[in-house]
Amino acid sequence: MISIAMATNRSAQRPNGAPQTKVCQFKLVLLGESAVGKSSLVLRFVKGQFHEYQESTIGAAFLTQTLCLDDTTVKFEIWDTAGQERYHSLAPMYYRGAQAAIVVYDITNQDTFGRAKNWVKELQRQASPSIVIALAGNKSDLAAKRMVEFEEAQAYADENGLLFMETSAKTAMNVNDIFLAIANKLPKSEVSTGGAGTRVLNDADAPRASSCCK
């Protein structure tokens, strides 16, 4: 069972006598074609909600969510970006300095898988060399309309050293898991990996760290 703290607003309570835990903040960006479910994955992860019709994202939306690993609290600063091709020129702003990226495609749409591969290439070329990239084949609840085979995506992910899961923001399948897998893979040492956003904080310095790590 993954424990997820709803520490997304300013009024989150300070830990009450919780043991000293390391708090790490990471910048994570979601990329992928329009309408593959980027915002829905974030909404499911951050608020546990799903809307059949999620508003199209313009520019980007910013949210935060905190995950607890054994001895570390991982706080994600999530940038959920617009998918339409013409917003592409704005994307570097969002993945610059990101420690993690989720590249999303829709398993019922082959074109979106092609676009996801292009995003992976761009990240490998332009983003921080140590970036952790996860590939998410979303809308797995629509398996009857599948156009992208699991094995094909898995093989591609293996070749490129990506984390890979098929997810469903609708049913919540693998949504927390993919964020957790990323959190586990991210380096949590005191040594910064060079990304501008890595900050290892003491609990005392983290006003919005939640008390999820008991």
Binding site: H51, S56, I58, E77, Y87, S89, L90, M93, A196
Partner: protein, 339 residues
Amino acid sequence: MKMAHSSFSTVDEYGFERHDDFDYESYEDFMSHYLKVLASRAQKWSTLLGEGKSVKRTNTVKRYVRKGIPSDHRPSVWMAISEAEKMKESTPDLYQKILDGPFEKELVDLVKTDLPRTFPDNIYFSKEANHQTHLFHVLIAYAHNNRVVGYCQGLNYIAGLLLLATKSEETSFWLLKVLVEKILPDYYTKTMDGLIVDIEVLSELVKSKVPDVHQHVINLGLPWAVITTKWFVCLFAEVLPIETVLRIWDCLFYEGSKILFRVCLTLIRNNRASILACNDFTSLAECFKAIVKNASALHCHEFMQSIFKVPGTLSNSTILKLRARFAKQRREQQQKEHR
């Protein structure tokens, strides 16, 4: 916690559902005052329009527009004070002709994807309600009419709000056309050059008018583009409270894109203290989400008065000069990258 809200419905006058966290108390406070303003403005406008004159671009009309166009008159006044009316007169059957088709499949797919994702919390757009069909017509007609723009995400919110305000497909089409082609620079083209340039222009204006905020935002590492892309692309639709957006659009149709900078600068200047109080990236990002929803953004009448005072002098020539400067920089940058 839900407040008692006897006088206000859970759906606003434009069909938007009010969420559980809607602050009825602040809204009641605002409306009790604003209803009086609306009543007084309605009377003045009916006198102005009652003289049988068509609305001309005069200083009186400009002053009236700044104080707000009554919602009943918005469609005709927006058409008259912008160039939309003239455009329509030159090709009166354009809209109907485009709708006779045929349509390109690629554009149809692109537009259709966004139909259920435009104002899903508005009763006129949710499910198969008729505004989705109207929205499809306006967007697909415009995409075929202007091939350079085609369909750009964000236009769905502008066309959607035009439909809510005018209740007419054809009027919405012409107003969308005048916005994209006459009022705004190239925000919606494939490279969005005009948008990227205007964000640079804003950054420069903040630097000169509110220098401490500019420095603070830079220090915390938040690019202005991250904060303001949606402000510019949606012309504050889906950003500010709806009544405030419509009041901004009143001035936008009359005075042009300069108004957008006035609004941005006012939001930033009015909230200077809370922006400067943020001490990290996350709190700053949250702060910029909050300032577009606070009481000063809701009180549209005072807000619209303040946009002509708070940012100080802002001439068209300043904006044009800055646009030219940053467009040139951008071209040089692109040439360098291509070499």
